[in-house]
């Protein structure tokens, strides 16, 4: 986060430091782009852990900064591809933001949503997403063993269907950036 703040103010930094910061950030962004181009779902993730959707969104945020400081279209395409994944271009078929998409999560691990007497969950939450470690497997029956499909839309699934502030944060950044640039 600190580096991202500095990247937003490159012209106020010592020129040598600004150049090295920019170079290192673009190296990271290029590694992400390379991986996006090598994975069939066009994301830069092949390890699906707790909160994997936030890993995808955080990578999108890194690419958004790369686009902001270079203006290069390829980075913006990368942001779009990661966002496509979150909204349904993924192995589960779910759109991972509550209230949005044709097949959104209906039973997030979010007590107010479960207890309010309304069928739909509170809209606007990114759920964790596929997590191959299935730390909740004693209370949740998973339909698939494949890491990228280890997601269950049930309230008990704290390991794949939890909601969290730090998972929504990159979603806000990325969606805001896309609205601003399109």
């Amino acid at each position: 986060m600190g580096f991202h703040s500095l990247l937003s103010h490159l012209d106020e930094l010592d020129p040598d430091y600004a150049a090295s910061l920019k170079e290192k950030h673009l190296k990271l962004a290029d590694e992400i782009m390379q991986k996006i181009n090598s994975i069939p779902y066009e994301i830069a993730l092949d390890l699906f852990e707790w909160g994997s959707n936030s890993d995808v969104l955080n990578q999108a945020m890194i690419l958004a900064y790369a686009h902001m400081i270079t203006g290069e279209q390829k980075y913006l395409d990368g942001v779009i591809k990661n966002t496509d994944y979150v909204f349904g271009k993924n192995a589960t078929g779910y759109s991972f933001l509550t209230g949005f998409g044709s097949k959104p999560p209906m039973f997030p691990h979010h007590r107010p949503s479960g207890a309010d007497g309304i069928g739909e969950p509170v809209p606007g939450f990114i759920v964790g997403g596929p997590n191959k470690y299935k730390q909740d497997r004693f209370g949740v029956e998973y339909q698939f063993d494949d890491p990228a499909r280890s997601y269950e839309d049930v309230q008990a699934s704290f390991a794949s269907n939890e909601v969290c502030l730090n998972w929504n944060a990159p979603a806000v950044f990325v969606l805001g950036y896309l609205e601003k640039t399109h």
């Binding site: 069939p40 496509d84 909204f87 349904g88 509170v122 502030l165 969606l175 609205e179």
Partner: protein, 130 residues
Amino acid sequence: MKYFLLLISLQLSFFGLMSQSPERPNPIRLNQIGYYPTSAKNFVLADVQAKSFTVVNSKNKRVFKGELIDKGTWEPSGERIMLGNFSGLKKPGVYTISIEGVEPSYQFEIKKGLYHDALDASIKSFTIIY
């Protein structure tokens, strides 16, 4: 006859529950919100082999035809993945993707302001207890 059909359908749903077969999502995996008019537009076809796809507008008219690219099997999902691209379609509207032998995709939109509501809701979630 009515009762007979009801009985059959009850039995089918009973066996459906019993067999516990994994629920298969629509094999056409796309951004269910949609795409910006000017953005890259890609989708995945999972575990189905096909050569081409069309994009159909809300008047059921084909407005785009494209080829699918075989990306092979992706180990983390165990699926055989094909990739389709329709970035050339830029006209705002409501569309579905159509592929022979596959149920149609969900409807999606091409429009400006695509994520306006999603952005609003994701910000608003910070005012709600997590």
